[in-house]
Every structure is written in structure tokens, then in C-alpha cells.
């Protein structure tokens, strides 16, 4: 699959599915800043109104990537590292994402992303840092209008599928989850979208958590679900063929949660390692202020 940045319909579905609407807020002569808004559909939430961990990371990857890309013009970028820390589980929405470029060098760029819940007095939901490598698309980048805009699609035109269904996630074993890749799950580079990989990481870690003893992952009641609360994700090589296979390994169980390593391989590309992640799982907290109102 070749890169195609000139076709507005190629490699865009993951970003469209995420419902993000992005507007550039860069001040004259200032560093690149973007503001994103997301009207959260029910299909992104569970019974506790917790945003799916994969979508949370996907949103950070998309807007962080655009921020790095605009700072890198006339080059463009691929994400290389993403770390995200979630502070609030249940949300009301809509979500707002604000970014700032932290560093731009000759070969890399770094952006910070803050996610807030407009429906909860703009409480900070998560902070993320997205690092990117600068690359030149073979056919060049199309002209980007400034201020940049990525308009959300009409929700009626998008797949009405829950997150794991949209990303074609399948459970293989207690520690193994896979995604069957199709073109909908790629980005304009023609490779597997970072959000697809992020969702596989979250799904693998959270499914692995189900097999842990009830006393772990935060020490709360086993009746409460747990989530990927902190994720460090390193994109090592492009995912090209699939299925992508995520395998989890326990690092340790602590007072605050359980630490899990997730390795993602592309089984159709000589089983090579596509991504490596470390995820801290924590159980839904009784003290979460929105839980009783969910």
C-alpha cells in the first residue's frame, strides 16, 4: 500500500471515526497550537461512561500528529512515541483537546496534548506527549491551508460500530488479542494507523487484566472494571499486512495498579515487532466523582 496524501478519502477513516474536529489556534509567529473537540458518541463509552482507552489514545495520536506535522512543513511526520496519563475515568463530554508544539528539530518533533471534559467544568481527563519523526512523502505534501482545519464528518456517514468492532479486535487467548487489518484501519502513509495500534495495545492489556487475581490492579473490588490508565507506546516499525497480534506480559503488581508490557507483531510481515508498550492498569475507582451519576 503506497502513501497517498492527495486523495482526501484515503487513510482518513480512523480519524473520521474518532469524531474529532480540529481547528488551528496558532498565534502569529507563535508555535503551532491546535484545538480539537469531540462529541462523544455512546459507542465510545462503557456502562460507567468511561471512554474506551484505545479511542483516548487515538485522539491524542491524531491531534498530536497534526501538531507535529504542521510544525514540520514542508515535510510531514509519522508518530514514533506516545505516552498518555489518564486522570479521570468517567466523562460527560464533549471532550476538548489542546496541543502545543514542545520541540521541532531536523528529524523529530514533540507535541503536548491536554484533554479536558467540557461537561465536567473542563476537568483534565488526560495529558499526552506525542513524538514524531519527520519524513518527506514521495509525492510531496499537498498544500495545507492555514489556519489548518480538519472538520468532523457527519456522524450519520460513519460506521455505527463500537470501538472493538470498528477496529476488528478479536480475543485469541488470555494474554493475546489480534486485529485483522483492512484499508479502513490505515493512515495516509498506507500503513496501519497509530490509533489502530493504540487500540490493540489497550485491548490486549485490559483483556490480560481480566486473567489477573482479583486482589490486583489497584486493590479495589474485582467487581469494578479496570482500564489502561497510563500508557507508554513506542511505534517501532510500520504495520503493513496483519493480522496484528498483541501479547501481554506481567511486569508487576503494585498498590496503585498493575504494570503490563504489550508487544505488537505483524504476523503477515515475518512476525516483526511493530510496537512495544508499557501499560499501567487501574480499577475503576469508587471515589470517581461521576460514577454515581453515570
Amino acid at each position: 500500500m503506497k502513501p497517498d496524501f492527495h486523495n482526501p478519502h484515503f487513510g482518513r477513516l480512523v480519524a473520521q471515526y474518532s469524531r474529532i474536529d480540529i481547528l488551528e489556534t496558532t498565534l502569529p509567529e507563535g508555535p503551532v497550537t491546535l484545538r480539537g473537540t469531540v462529541d462523544i458518541p455512546e459507542i465510545f463509552l462503557d456502562e460507567h461512561r468511561v471512554l474506551h482507552s484505545g479511542i483516548l489514545t487515538t485522539l491524542a495520536d491524531i491531534i498530536g500528529g497534526f501538531t507535529c506535522g504542521l510544525a514540520a512543513l514542508p515535510l510531514w511526520i509519522v508518530s514514533t512515541d506516545l505516552n498518555i496519563s489518564r486522570f479521570q475515568f468517567a466523562i460527560r463530554g464533549p471532550l476538548e483537546l489542546n496541543t502545543q508544539i514542545l520541540r521541532v528539530g531536523k528529524s523529530s518533533a514533540v507535541a503536548g496534548v491536554t484533554l479536558t471534559d467540557n461537561g465536567s467544568d473542563n476537568a483534565v481527563v488526560a495529558n499526552a506527549v506525542v513524538s514524531s519523526a519527520l519524513l518527506a512523502p514521495p509525492d510531496g505534501m499537498p498544500e495545507r491551508e492555514r489556519p489548518f482545519r480538519f472538520a468532523a464528518s457527519d456522524p450519520e456517514s460513519l460506521p455505527d460500530l463500537r470501538v472493538l468492532e470498528f477496529f476488528r479486535v478479536t480475543v485469541v487467548a488470555h494474554d493475546t488479542v489480534s486485529i485483522d487489518i483492512n484499508d479502513d484501519l490505515r493512515n495516509p502513509w498506507g500503513i496501519v494507523h497509530g490509533g489502530t495500534i493504540a487500540t490493540l495495545v489497550a485491548a490486549t492489556a485490559e483483556h490480560f487484566g481480566l486473567s489477573l487475581p482479583s486482589s490486583t490492579a489497584g486493590g479495589s473490588s474485582a467487581e469494578t472494571p479496570f482500564y489502561a490508565q497510563d500508557t507508554v507506546l513506542r511505534f517501532l516499525r510500520p504495520g503493513r499486512v496483519g493480522p496484528l497480534i498483541g501479547v501481554a506480559r506481567l511486569i508487576g503488581e503494585r498498590l496503585d495498579g498493575t504494570c503490563v508490557e504489550v508487544t505488537i507483531r505483524d504476523s503477515g510481515s515475518d512476525d516483526r515487532v511493530v510496537a512495544e508498550a508499557v501499560v499501567t492498569l487501574r480499577r475503576f475507582r469508587e471515589s470517581d466523582p461521576l460514577r454515581s451519576q453515570a
Binding site: N83, R103, S131, A133, D230, R234, R237, I251, G252
Partner: protein, 287 residues
């Protein structure tokens, strides 16, 4: 054989406080170790996460330098997740290369006790830089195993790592800590070494969480996620923190580290998780 210039590391250096010993192998794996003496312990008796970060950074950095040869490297980021409190006498670090690209090298370091118990995992990425005069010379693709031991200086050995770094608290600043740029913390680029930056970040987060709970109980970091944005060369190097989450047993903080002597330039941001600890930790490595 690794050829480190006589000038690096200096006689009094953070790596020597660790009694750092490392073996790099031709298959781009490494095993390093540190002796976790009293100078590398918190007041609760656990091993300082800053010392563990220094171990991981040095192990991965040495391996990355070999992988990048003839180029040189600078740490882009460092993440360290502990399996729990660490209180073994000796910590082993097993380094492996996850990706070796032209401009970037990514590695993982698995931390273990000398009995093989998992203590945590670190990951790091390094930017590959053009070689400059003064960079240590590493064999391009090592054909033989190399072994390096950093002999200690007695005076640094007995000083606590915080004292040796010169870490002091800044009154009136949440999580405010600072240290001067000295030979003790310098890296091969003449900037503050990544492990020393981690030590500052961890101390800042711990103090901030302790202040947020208005208690005398200790918070010790178990996770550090550090993004290095610029080199800190002048000093003083200052850290401040914002508490992002606090619960009964643990909390999180976001730390900014700046070079006050270079127009207060932002050097690094740190996302830290810390747990409340008892003053007498268990002896089996668990909290």
C-alpha cells in the same frame, strides 16, 4: 574494547556511585549491574528510583552508542516502570535493542534482582547525532564482548546520591528542587546526565505529593516517563511540579525541569507516579 577517554566519566561521577559495571555483547544486548548501597536508598530503605533510572540510562546509552557508531547519541526519552519497591542489594539491567534506525535507536532494559526476580522495565529512545570531537569512541559493530567497570571514589561512595548531586529544595515552589551543573552529573555532551535529570524529577514529584497530602508520609516514585526537550548545560537545573492526581495510597504529578541559567529553557517534562510508603519496607521487594 570500549575506549572511554580518561576524562569521562570524571573521578567523582554519578555512575561511579552506582559501582556501575556493564558488559556489551556482539548481539546488541547488554547486562549491567549496580550495588545498591546506603547512598542509593531512600529514607524508607528502598532503592532510589533515580539511581535505577541512571542504571537504565547508562546501560541503554552504552548499547545505543555502539549501535549508532560512528555517530553519537542523545537521550530523547526515558520511561521506567517498577514492579514494586526495590530493596535488593544488587540490581541487574538487561538491555536489548528494539529498533536500530538511521536517526533513532529504541531500547528496552529489564531490571532484575540477582535472584532473577523482575524489578521493572525501562524503555528509551536515542537520537543519532553526527560525531563531535570529545565523544567517546565505540567499536562500530562490536565483534567481541566488552566489559567496563566504574571504580568508585570513596568520597562519592559515602555521600547520598541527593547530596552528591547537590539537590536542594526550593522554598515556596510546589515540588521545587534544584541542583548545580557539576562534573558529578555531566554526560558525554557536557549536559546533565539523563539519570540525574530523572533523580531531580522523582524528588520533585515526591515532595509535591507529600505537600499535597499535607502529611509527613513519604511518597516514592514507581513510574517515571521523561521526555527530554533540550540539553541542560548551565544550571542551576530546577524542577517544579503540579500534582495531577492524589489518592489514598498513590498519586501522580507532572514535573517541568528547566535550565535556569539558559533563559529558564524547558529541558524535560516528567510524568511521575508515586506510592505512599511505610518507613520499614518489606524485605522481599514488595510494598
Amino acid at each position: 574494547m570500549t575506549q572511554l577517554p580518561i576524562s569521562y566519566p570524571p573521578a567523582k561521577h554519578i555512575l561511579r556511585s552506582l559501582r556501575y559495571e556493564v558488559e556489551h555483547r556482539p548481539d546488541f544486548t547488554s547486562t549491567a549491574s549496580m550495588e545498591a548501597g546506603p547512598n542509593l536508598r531512600t529514607t524508607s530503605g528502598n532503592v532510589e528510583i533515580g539511581a535505577l533510572a541512571t542504571l537504565a540510562d547508562a546501560t541503554a546509552g552504552g548499547l545505543a552508542a555502539i549501535a549508532a557508531s560512528p555517530g553519537w547519541i542523545a537521550t530523547s526519552d526515558l520511561t521506567l516502570h517498577l514492579a514494586g519497591a526495590v530493596n535488593t542489594e544488587r540490581v541487574l539491567a538487561h538491555g536489548r535493542v528494539l529498533r536500530r534506525g538511521n536517526s533513532k535507536i529504541v531500547l528496552a532494559v529489564d531490571l532484575e534482582s540477582d535472584t532473577g526476580a523482575s524489578l521493572g522495565i525501562a524503555t528509551m529512545s536515542f537520537s543519532v547525532l553526527p560525531r563531535r570531537d570529545g565523544n567517546p569512541i565505540m567499536n562500530p559493530v562490536s565483534e567481541t564482548t566488552t566489559h567496563t567497570f566504574m571504580p568508585i571514589d570513596d568520597s562519592t561512595q559515602i555521600r547520598h546520591i541527593h547530596d552528591a548531586i547537590g539537590l536542594t529544595q526550593i522554598a515556596g515552589v510546589v515540588g521545587g528542587v534544584e541542583s548545580q551543573m557539576t562534573d558529578y552529573v555531566v554526560n558525554t555532551l557536557g549536559a546533565m546526565q539523563g539519570g540525574a535529570v530523572a533523580t531531580l524529577g522523582a524528588a520533585s514529584a515526591s515532595f509535591a505529593l507529600q505537600a499535597a497530602t499535607q502529611s509527613n508520609e513519604l511518597f516514592e516514585c514507581v513510574d517515571l516517563v521523561i521526555t527530554y526537550l533540550s540539553l541542560g548545560k548551565t544550571g542551576p537545573i530546577r524542577a517544579s511540579a503540579v500534582v495531577t492526581q492524589v489518592n489514598i495510597d498513590w498519586g501522580t504529578a507532572r514535573v517541568e525541569i528547566r535550565d535556569a541559567g539558559s533563559e529558564n529553557r524547558l529541558m524535560a517534562i516528567v510524568a511521575a507516579t508515586a506510592v505512599r510508603v511505610e518507613s520499614s519496607p518489606n524485605t522481599d521487594g514488595s510494598l
